[in-house]
């Protein structure tokens, strides 16, 4: 486990509540972004991110450090996102796409911004039609830049399974994105 994470966990176990705040500040952005990429809606992602940290707060005193804190956090995040998507149904999650707001373009060129928005919409749509576990793996691998071994630990499966699933997911994404790729 990362030395800083270990120090924070130990401090929390000693009763220092500020250590938990420090942990939240360190990981909130990544947790939120995973949830946002998986669920799309800002409110949904924010709610799930809060649930993640509530669970962490409850379970941290018993955290033995057998896996890295980051892996543990991401596993909780992915599981909660999968539960959330299952509860609400993929149709509801997809309607959340409409409320999306994305990073503004670096310049104010309206044509470029329109292109970026179009790309974002298409990519979101392509990721969204993937089955939830494939979607989770794509988010972890492509957007969080995690290694296959780490993705496997988070998803609770073998590294080979992750590779095979990713390959299948990339094949689907390639097909979905092909029209846009040809037009660019």
């Amino acid at each position: 486990m990362d030395a800083e994470d270990q120090a924070l966990v130990e401090a929390f176990k000693r009763g220092e509540d500020s250590a938990f705040t420090a942990l939240v500040i360190k990981y909130r952005e990544q947790v939120y972004r995973i949830a946002r990429r998986m669920l799309h809606g800002h409110e949904d992602a924010s709610d799930v991110a809060q649930d993640v940290f509530i669970r962490v707060h409850r379970a941290l005193p018993g955290f033995r450090g057998r896996s890295a804190l980051k892996t543990w956090l991401y596993r909780i995040t992915v599981n909660l996102c999968l539960d959330y998507a299952r509860r609400r149904g993929s149709r509801d999650v997809l309607t959340g796409l409409k409320e999306l707001e994305w990073e503004p373009a670096l310049n104010d060129n309206p044509v470029e911004e329109a292109e970026r928005n179009e790309l974002a919409r298409t990519v979101r749509g392509a990721i969204d039609v993937l089955p939830p576990r494939q979607r989770a793996m794509v988010v972890l691998r492509v957007y969080q830049d995690l290694r296959y071994a780490e993705v496997a630990r988070i998803m609770g499966c073998a590294e080979g399974t992750v590779k095979a699933t990713m390959f299948a997911a990339m094949g689907k994404l390639r097909k979905t994105l092909a029209p846009l790729a040809e037009s660019r």
Binding site: V24, V138, R174
Partner: protein
């Protein structure tokens, strides 16, 4: 390297995690295999599009709101027993609690096992008979045969307020 192995490596190499020697083997394969070359180009393009998609934008003041809401939820979540468990789990409190428990156990042990014996000794003391008013000089003189019995009695039950001299007088 066959095409199946190459496909595994293509995906891996897109994010730069392939060791250089394996990457060289893949490049050699791609030079000779047009099908895998097309596959690699397609994957590369797809990955580039995925990564080009802009990051979600956060509303202004989001994290301040997030932290406030989280603090409130944590406070609500920390019900009485959970707060107590959290408190007991902190090492300083845990050691204090262990020390306190030890003191209570020792005190209970003392109360349950040591006190009854002390009580029986006191009871034995209290059961001694005060003979001062009964064994007088006249009684001893009138019953000289009591001398031997009194001597052994003193050795056994030891009535402290019967003077030895008095018994000795009786024994003469």
């Amino acid at each position: 390297m066959n095409c199946e192995e190459a496909k595994d490596l293509i995906l891996e190499s897109l994010t730069g995690t392939t060791p250089p020697d394996r990457r060289r083997v893949l490049v050699t394969h791609l030079e000779d295999c047009s099908s895998c070359r097309r596959e690699a180009a397609g994957m590369e393009h797809t990955m580039a599009m995925l990564r080009a998609a802009p990051e979600p934008r956060l509303p202004e003041g989001h994290w301040a709101e997030f932290m406030n809401a989280l603090d409130r939820r944590v406070a609500l979540d920390m019900t009485g027993w959970r707060r107590l468990i959290r408190l007991l789990r902190t090492p300083r409190i845990a050691w204090g609690a262990a020390a306190g428990t030890s003191v209570v156990v020792v005190a209970l042990g003392f109360a349950l096992f040591v006190q009854p014996f002390a009580g029986s000794e006191r009871a034995a003391d209290e059961s001694q008979v005060d003979l001062s008013g009964v064994v007088t000089e006249s009684v001893v003189q009138s019953l000289p045969s009591m001398s031997t019995a009194l001597t052994s009695w003193k050795a056994g039950l030891s009535a402290p307020d019967v003077s030895y001299e008095l018994i000795s007088v009786g024994g003469k």
